[in-house]
């Protein structure tokens, strides 16, 4: 049953690959060239340990099994196990077959694997031999140190050249190589290159074989321009790398053995910790040559590279005092941001304005390229002007090792005189006669003092209280207006709420009337006012009609509110006393009236607390 399943799986895989190949042929995608590489997972191991050798044939899947031409001090324990891969990315077919062997050392000392031969069609490919050191003790994984010597993580600083001229561009890379570890986070390398103008250009990732071992890498390219002549020490470049490592001090359990795949469980249960390592690259020496003195033109301003200059003038026929536009474009390879074309300057017959310039710079492949565009207004002041002078740019070409002078122009222009009686004015210039008219010119100097004293303007707006108030008060007014408008709206639409809001005010009004009646010895009025105060307050709070409130109905009305029983009884007492005074013909003396008023005020206060 198992065998059948395996055969079915193989058939499906073959079918898939065949379909991809057919699809690739139909779509006309391009195939890559054949390459054979061999790599081992370690270069130093002990007797009794094993290493894994991988032979990767990329660009073809019709490769014969690898054949060892030399295998000294080692023996094949297992393999070859074969795996194939195929992908189509952007129309490029990428196919490879990998042969994996497990080798075991049979002798101590330096041993050699290979060369290994692989036959693809009629062509035989051969790998370079690999040296392996077999020792007696167990080897530990290392990181840092000398680049490429089998470490798990290392940093390499490289340059496309180490002998350059001042301001000549170099392409440098800082590459982080790692294998057998998971790199969780890579920070941008700290590239402090003294005496160099550095332009960093992002990063890219990939796989590479270093010293016959397969590594992943992250590469940080940059274009640098040396600024000083002499022997310059570059590096080391430092970088912080966060590496995921298994937590060392833990109890290993039943599920951590090889059968259950301890690593998989570690991964699943997060038994890894991230450890930050600071690693540093190798150093290198760059010999920076000074630019030659011999043959250096007067207009040279330090530009190094390869450049082209294009320039033109429009229009070519104008009247004196009218501007023509000079345009120039400098394009090429080099530090375009740091160079400039010598444009025109004022002369007796030409008024020249400050140029406008635009620039763009980018890295193409391994070279910094860019262009700089200039626009300059030039006004011929006289009909005697027949040409706009040439503009110049001088640079040193490190390939040819000589200075190159570029010129744009001179440009022929036809300038007509200003008509008789006309008066053309140009700012900041001297007067020049042109035909019958005049071009008015002011001297190139600063304008005079301002003598008018400013009455205001001695305190900045940011420090001004009126300004702060102007920013703070309007929003507060707006918020207040919104609150008031909403209050009014509710008063208009929500009768129950409105009565509740006004209840307190009415209570106080009636109690004031009661106190006034007491002072007048009008005890009947006192009873009326006290009764009204309590009944209206309760009616307003409960949104019922005031006549509905009486000593008899009170318990039913306040049921379910926070009014306590003793308060209810006290109100009933006051209301009954008032009814007695109003309707029962009762007569109070002054002491009884005062007692009634005090009792009523006390009850009113309790009522306000309990019924809101």
């Amino acid at each position: 049953m198992v065998k059948k399943t395996t055969l079915e799986t193989m058939a499906i895989r073959k079918g898939t690959i065949l379909a991809m190949v057919l699809a690739a042929r139909v779509l006309g995608v391009r195939a890559e060239e054949v390459r054979v590489t061999a790599s081992v997972d370690r270069q130093v191991l002990a007797l009794g340990e094993r290493l894994t050798l991988q032979v990767v044939v990329s660009g073809s899947q019709n490769a014969s099994a690898p054949e060892f031409k030399e295998l000294r001090g080692m023996r094949v324990v297992q393999g070859p196990a074969t795996s194939t891969q195929m992908s189509i990315v952007n129309g490029e077919v990428s196919s490879s077959v990998t042969f994996t062997f497990v080798l075991a050392p049979t002798a101590l000392g330096e041993q050699e694997i290979g060369p290994i031969e692989v036959r693809v069609g009629r062509q035989v490919y051969r790998t370079t031999p690999m040296k392996i050191v077999v020792s007696e003790g167990s080897q530990q994984k290392q990181s840092g140190g000398e680049a490429g010597a089998g470490q798990a993580v290392f940093l390499v600083l490289q340059a496309d050249r180490t002998n350059v001229y001042v301001n000549e561009q170099m392409y440098m890379t800082v590459t982080l190589y790692y294998r057998d570890v998971q790199v969780a986070n890579v920070s941008q390398p700290q590239v402090v290159l003294k005496g160099f103008d550095v332009h960093e250009e992002g990063y890219h990732q990939g796989d590479a074989v270093v010293n016959n071992m397969r590594y992943k890498f992250v590469r940080f390219p940059m274009v640098v321009f040396p600024l000083q002549a002499g022997r310059q020490e570059v590096g080391p470049v430092r970088m912080k790398v966060r590496v995921r490592e298994p937590v060392a001090s833990r109890q290993r359990g039943f599920f951590d053995d090889g059968f259950f795949g301890g690593g998989l469980l570690d991964e699943f249960f997060g038994r890894f910790q991230e450890v930050e390592h600071e690693i540093e690259s190798n150093t290198m020496t760059v010999q920076v040559k000074a630019l030659p003195e011999e043959g250096r033109p007067a207009g040279f301003a330090g530009a190094v590279g390869q450049y082209e200059l294009r320039a033109g003038v429009e229009p070519k026929a104008v009247q004196a005092g009218t501007a023509v536009t000079l345009t120039a474009e400098l394009a090429g390879t080099g530090n375009v941001n740091a160079v400039s074309v010598t444009l025109l300057t004022n002369t007796v017959e030409l008024r020249v304005y400050d140029p406008e310039s635009r620039r763009e710079q980018r890295v193409e492949g391994t070279r910094m390229v860019g262009r700089r565009r200039y626009t300059q207004l030039v006004i011929p002041l006289s009909e005697k002007v027949h040409e706009i002078p040439a503009i110049e740019f001088v640079y040193f070409d490190p390939r040819q090792e000589r200075y190159v002078e570029l010129k744009g122009g001179p440009f022929a222009v036809e300038v007509t005189a200003v008509p008789e009686g006309s008066d053309v004015r140009i700012a900041d210039y001297r007067p020049v006669k042109s035909g019958g008219g005049t071009v008015k010119v002011l001297a190139e100097d600063i304008l005079g003092l301002k003598t008018q004293r400013s009455v205001w303007g001695t305190r900045r707006a940011l420090d001004n209280v009126v300004c702060a108030a102007g920013l703070a008060v309007p929003p507060m007014v707006w918020i207040a207006a919104v609150v008031i408008a909403r209050w009014r709206e509710r008063m208009r639409t929500d009768a129950a709420w409105t009565r509740r809001v006004k209840a307190g005010g009415r209570l106080h009004k009636y109690m004031r009337e009661a106190r006034a009646a007491y002072r007048r010895h009008d005890h009947r009025k006192l009873c009326e006012a006290v009764s009204d105060a309590l009944c209206h307050y309760i009616a307003d709070q409960l949104h019922v009609n005031a006549p509905q409130v009486s000593a008899m109905t009170l318990p039913g009305l306040v049921e379910g509110t926070r009014v306590r029983e003793e308060t209810v009884r006290a109100i009933q007492g006051v209301l009954e006393e008032c009814d007695f005074g109003r309707f029962g013909g009762g007569v109070f003396d002054a002491a009884e009236a005062r007692a009634l008023l005090q009792h009523a005020e006390e009850v009113a206060q309790r009522l306000q607390r309990e019924l809101r």
């Binding site: 402090v192 900041d428 600063i446 004293r453 205001w456 303007g457 707006a461």
Partner: protein, 243 residues
């Protein structure tokens, strides 16, 4: 309101210094003129005209960097003044390095078209005025919900937003200035903040730079896309004095 808010009247002593500085300038005693303009500034008299005149005095003294710095300060306060623009251009032409001033992206310039034509003070006062109009309108709308008023408030709201952005940028640049002018005849720009660091390049009196950070007596600057450290005493920050 604009006039009323612009601040207190200058003190008599500051006005005397301003007038004496003008007299010293006319008598070609430029160093005395600079000293008196500085005194007027210390006493709190800081209109744009003061910085303009100070720039003239520095220019006549041959201190190009100081002159450009003063003209830049004057331009902040008098952005539409032709005399300031002309003298600044003349001083810049005389500088050895005519480094392009930092410019905002075109889209931002189009959005904040007014930004380049008003001073920081004017910008803030315009924003205050817009705030008063907008919130007054909103307060009225709380009681009177008319469609016309609503449409007007939308327009005023947009204007308020634009003015607020402009005032914010202006205020930010007043509170945290990051532009400076080289005032030393020759200033070395080094790879690090120390006199022992490698000299990367040199700048001269009048070069305008952007200051990225400060450390001790050193400023990290960028000039024509090149970065480095320059002694703080060799540059003068372009900032308007506040009280």
């Amino acid at each position: 309101m604009m006039a009323a808010g612009c601040g207190a009247r200058p003190a008599g002593e500051a006005i005397r210094a301003w007038e004496e500085a003008g007299a010293a300038y006319t008598a070609t005693n430029y160093s005395k003129a600079v000293r008196l303009y500085r005194k007027a500034e210390e006493l709190g008299y800081t209109p744009g005209a003061l910085y303009y005149n100070m720039g003239n005095a520095y220019y006549r003294e041959g201190k190009l960097g100081r002159a450009i710095c003063a003209y830049r300060q004057a331009k902040w306060l008098l952005p539409r003044d032709g005399d300031v623009a002309a003298n600044l251009a003349t001083a810049r032409r005389a500088a050895k390095e005519q480094l392009a001033a930092r410019e905002m992206p075109a889209a931002v310039q189009a959005f904040l078209f007014f930004y380049f034509h008003v001073s920081p003070d004017e910008s803030v006062w315009l924003f205050v005025a817009a705030t008063v109009v907008l919130f007054s309108g909103l307060a009225v709308q709380a009681f009177w919900r008319a469609g016309v008023l609503r449409q007007m408030l939308v327009i005023v709201g947009v204007i308020w937003g634009v003015l607020g952005t402009g005032a914010g940028i202006h205020s930010y640049r007043v509170l945290w200035p990051d532009e400076a002018v080289v005032v030393a005849e020759r200033a070395a720009v080094r790879a690090g903040p120390a006199a022992t660091e490698t000299v990367l390049f040199e700048l001269h009196d009048g070069a305008e730079v952007k200051v990225l950070s400060r450390e001790g007596g050193w400023c990290k600057i960028v000039a024509a896309a090149q970065k480095g450290w320059i002694a703080a005493k060799d540059v003068s920050m372009i900032t308007v004095r506040r009280r």
